[in-house]
């Protein structure tokens, strides 16, 4: 099983009364809360953390795309990937990913990933999410009723642009390009592996199964809650008659590991509560715009993970409004987060056991680990990262590797042909 160090890049200094005083961390978060000096420090610390994870031996580092979001300071994951590209020479980079429908034309994604693949010598994974409603529909003004069609057309355009060996015309419903000619071409042929982050849309399960794409459930709510979603995907794979290769699946999980369980409880409480009770304070009105879900998903009654978090956060805010002088309703306790599996916590043995259980019950070969979460300070991030890399990863890295081939992992140029580190440094 591959472990990917995944970073959300949350803004670390939202005020303690944020849920009480503000409607949402996403879309209409107050611009006045952003301190550029904090931003400067934060970006550089977060890049340090990603590079440190690479040094520790993670199989890959992972980045993603959010807009107008207090818990995601990466409107452009490709910029962060570019910043990492020459400083993590032995690690793959998972961009999970570029919200294809937001790029006009989506050819830009094909070009930028091809550039990154060229710089890194073929160490890229290209992730293509539809994108959350907050990002795509509200922050970027896309039409909820047409975004999925636009997205699928965009992915089709990118795949054609990477694989066709002639200049061609693309006459789509949303994209009309007389000359398509991606230059540069990606190093990996026919193209970098494509992973699809999903939030529970039943049609995405079908599509990934049919097209042999990796389905990644980037849940914030742990493996216990995510099991049903992954089972839904594997059922679709089985229906196609294909092998259920665990490397076609990915999952995200918060990790909190320390020398002892008690230490872990002490160390990770604050950052977990910051993430789940402040960062996920999303207004429910942004989470389910009409048309964003497919009829099949509506019919199946599937609720997206952020939709669920938003519903709960808004319910707390409304409970406060309707109460006479009572305090703001408490969010989840850390104990609940651990009990429900949102956070895998413990000493290395305990964490390894839970990760093993997660991987085998969900049947996933790619684990996106959140070793940074919430407002965790940089020393604690390093501790958590190193503990996972040195004491947990060795216990789980062999999972599935003998039984299955990872057909969705980057295939970089072999050394010494590969050139991906700075040759000249300033004196």
């Amino acid at each position: 099983m591959k472990s990917i160090f995944f970073h959300l890049m949350p803004y670390p200094e939202l005020p303690p009364d944020f849920p009480e005083e503000h409607r949402s961390v996403w879309v209409d978060i107050d611009p006045a809360l952003y301190d550029p000096e904090v931003g400067n420090r934060t970006y550089n610390e977060y890049l340090d953390e990603l590079e440190f994870a690479a040094d520790c031996g993670f199989d890959a580092v992972g980045v993603n795309e959010h807009h107008s979001n207090g818990y995601g300071l990466m409107p452009s994951p490709n910029i962060i990937a570019a910043a990492l590209s020459r400083n993590c020479p032995d690690t793959n980079i998972v961009v999970l990913g570029d919200s294809v429908a937001l790029y006009n034309p989506p050819l830009r994604v094909a070009e930028e990933i091809a550039m990154l693949d060229g710089i890194t010598g073929g160490r890229m994974v290209a992730g293509f999410p539809v994108g959350s409603p907050m990002d795509t529909i509200f922050a970027y003004g896309q039409n909820p009723a047409t975004i999925r069609e636009r997205y699928h057309e965009g992915v089709d355009l990118i795949r054609q642009a990477w694989t066709r060996d002639e200049v061609f015309s693309f006459n789509g419903k949303y994209n009309k390009l007389r000359y398509v000619n991606v230059w540069p071409r990606p190093v990996q042929q026919p193209h970098p592996p494509i992973w699809i982050p999903g939030g529970g849309s039943v049609d995405t399960w079908d599509w990934c199964a049919q097209e042999d794409l990796v389905y990644c459930y980037l849940s914030y709510f742990g493996y216990k809650a995510g099991l049903k979603t992954m089972q839904g995907f594997w059922k679709k794979v089985q229906e196609t008659g294909k092998e259920a290769n665990p490397f076609q699946g990915g999952f995200a999980q918060f990790i909190a590991v320390a020398d002892t369980e008690k230490e872990a409880w002490d160390l990770y409480r604050e950052p977990a509560e910051y993430f789940f009770n402040t960062c996920l304070h999303v207004y429910a009105g942004f989470a389910d715009p009409p048309g964003y879900k497919t009829p099949n998903t509506v019919r199946a009654g599937v609720e997206g993970m952020v939709e669920r978090a938003a519903r709960e956060a808004t319910a707390r805010a409304e409970a406060k409004k309707s109460s006479a002088g009572g305090g703001y309703p408490k969010g989840l306790s850390f104990e609940e987060m651990v009990e429900k599996g949102y956070v895998i916590l413990g000493n290395p043995t305990q964490v390894a056991e839970q990760v093993h259980e997660l991987a085998t019950t969900m049947h996933i070969g790619h684990l996106m680990t959140f070793c940074h979460f919430g407002n965790m300070n940089k020393d604690l991030v390093r501790y958590n990262t190193e503990m996972y890399a040195t004491k947990v990863m060795p216990e789980v890295c062999d999972l599935f590797e003998d039984e299955y081939e990872d057909l969705w992992w980057p295939q970089p140029l072999a050394q010494p042909a590969r050139r991906d580190v700075p040759e000249v440094s300033a004196s």
Binding site: F138, N143, A145, Y283, A284, G291
Partner: protein, 263 residues
């Protein structure tokens, strides 16, 4: 009231749903965001005043399938033009509400004979940055209900499930509601302004404007804005205790206004 007829007519690669009631002079009702209400107090009120009402569902709304070719407003207007022909209501007077009023106005700019006189209830289409139209979608379902009508009971036909519905029909009722909301979003996302103010001089039809005094979506100032921009406004009416879809909150009153305007 009894005497409702429902029809499903072939329309492009799918179908169009249509309800009709009453006997008398023909009038068309083009629904708004709440979709085609079927048997409803407003249609009853019109029928009782001697009208033969035909209410087609726009593409993607309440029982009508969504044609695949709807990329932009132009496609919607062409579809609406075809739809009134298929429904057999071309040239009739029209009462159009909300998103339906926007489509009716757009169609009138390019096909004046599409309708006779027009009664328009809170049309979308204008945008004043100093007094912007509210976002009807950045909200929860229950709050959206409060934006569409003042009285929650007035929009029960759209929002409420029937208690006696079996479970599978309940699911499909929910899907239909979702698709109708989706069709509205497709029409007016993200800002319901598509340059109609530059085309309004082409609307020669006599227009009566109706606006719910408590419309939580389109501000009160828009009644005058439409009146100033349309060349042939014959009446403006502010309906008290009515929200965005005033004909749902005050069916008798809006029916009386429409009857007066169209007679």
């Amino acid at each position: 009231m009894s005497g409702y007829a429902t029809e499903t007519l072939p329309f492009r690669e799918g179908h169009l749903a249509l309800v009709s009631c009453g006997e008398g002079s023909p009038v068309t009702y083009l629904h708004g965001m709440l979709g085609n209400p079927g048997e409803h107090a407003f249609l009853n009120a019109m029928a009782n005043k001697g009208w033969s009402v035909t209410a087609p569902s726009l593409p993607g709304f309440t029982g009508s399938s969504e044609p695949s070719g709807l990329r932009n407003l132009h496609d919607w207007v062409v579809a609406a033009s075809e739809l009134i022909d298929v429904a057999g209501v071309t040239g009739h007077p029209v009462i159009a509400s909300s998103v339906g009023a926007m489509i009716a106005l757009e169609l009138a700019t390019i096909r004046p004979e599409a309708f006779d006189a027009m009664v328009l209830i809170a049309p979308f289409g204008l945008w004043d940055p100093q007094d912007p139209v509210a976002d009807p979608f950045a909200t929860t379902l229950s709050k959206q209900r409060g934006m569409l009508t003042v009285d929650p009971a007035a929009s029960a036909s759209f929002f409420d499930d029937l208690e006696e519905m079996p479970a599978d029909l309940l699911v499909e009722h929910g899907v239909d509601r979702y698709l109708t909301r989706s069709a509205s979003a497709q029409l007016i996302w993200p800002i319901p302004e598509f340059g109609i103010s530059e085309r309004l001089h082409l609307v020669k039809n006599p227009v009566t404007l109706v606006h719910g005094a408590e419309d939580a979506i389109i501000p009160a100032s828009y009644l005058n804005k439409w009146a100033q921009n349309l060349p042939n406004v014959v009446g403006t009416h502010r309906v008290e205790e009515a929200g965005h879809q005033a004909e749902f909150d005050r069916p008798e009153e809006v029916a009386a206004i429409a009857t007066s305007a169209l007679s």
